[in-house]
Symmetry: C2
Subunit: 189 residues, 2 copies
Amino acid sequence: MKRTRCTNSREEILDAAEAVVQERGAVGMTLDAVAAQAGVSKGGLLYHFPSKEALIEAMVERIARMARKHFAEELAKEPVGRGRHAHVFLRMMLGRKGSFFPLIQRMATPLFVAIAGNPDLLVPMRAAYAELRLGMIKDGLPPERAWLILSALDGIKFWRILQFMEPSGRELKRLRILLEKLIDGEETL
Amino acid sequence: MKRTRCTNSREEILDAAEAVVQERGAVGMTLDAVAAQAGVSKGGLLYHFPSKEALIEAMVERIARMARKHFAEELAKEPVGRGRHAHVFLRMMLGRKGSFFPLIQRMATPLFVAIAGNPDLLVPMRAAYAELRLGMIKDGLPPERAWLILSALDGIKFWRILQFMEPSGRELKRLRILLEKLIDGEETL
DNA sequence: GTCTATATCAAGATAGAC
DNA sequence: GTCTATCTTGATATAGAC
């Protein structure tokens, strides 16, 4: 089955690329390194992804797809209510249970590699975020609060990626409580 | 005066590097391009900054220094009160007047260039942020609110840098009002 | 203190065999 | 579909003249 073999190779190469990027950072993600990690030659790699940009694009797309899937599953479990989307997102980003951290770690550096050269590669992620924001607003959350939740959680995510600041577990917990109050809290703030 | 000549050359090269990075992006910031922009040869450039990393380090340091200076000046004008540091920072990041945008634009990409290869280069910025957060807390702002302000404004900054999301002017204004309420608002939220 | 010329190297990409 | 071998480019860095 050609289809299957091909698909598997692609997935394996994407796995390898993620592994490389985690081990050696964005700069270290060379085609040679990815090929070696995947156990194929550079030529073999370039058969599946004709350029490095194509590879990165596929990485971003796969990660965005996984994120959406995970989010949709969590959303299905969440009771309908004003802060439904917001709570699910908050839990994905900061929660202990059902946390999204592992996936975030995987997505973080490839995303950076991607955007450094070409912001267009972020389009799939942008679409997911726009949808998320709309969901929050449809839940009844005031738009400025939606922006606040999104920007704060993304700020923390970027800090982590850049190893810039790392609030302690206790501080994060208190921040999370504050955000929950903002989601559920009175309209008048 | 050797000192002066040397210092001027360094500053001019740093200006050139910022210009290049703005025009051609992080990836396009090659030594050749910087040298051409500065009107010196590559050899001349490498006399002042022995490696590209040294150049980037100097860029980050200068930007961090300028940011601190700007902040200190604004802080001096701000009346003492609970949200002093927070208000100044908020205005620097989101305000129309006294806005920090131009400087942010200049700092954004070099910062990214810097961190992609070596997170240690962010040390000067990290120090500035730590100081800012302490200032907010000393003003009387609850720590979790300080984290919220910092993370939200940094999230928006990163969005801008990555051209990921761009809230409209009206949305930003409403967000700003919300943040101001969080700075000045009641302790009990 | 700044230049020219050049060395070195690694990355992305291609061609053609198998 | 995958490999080996090779090409091209462009970036960092050095040596030595001026």
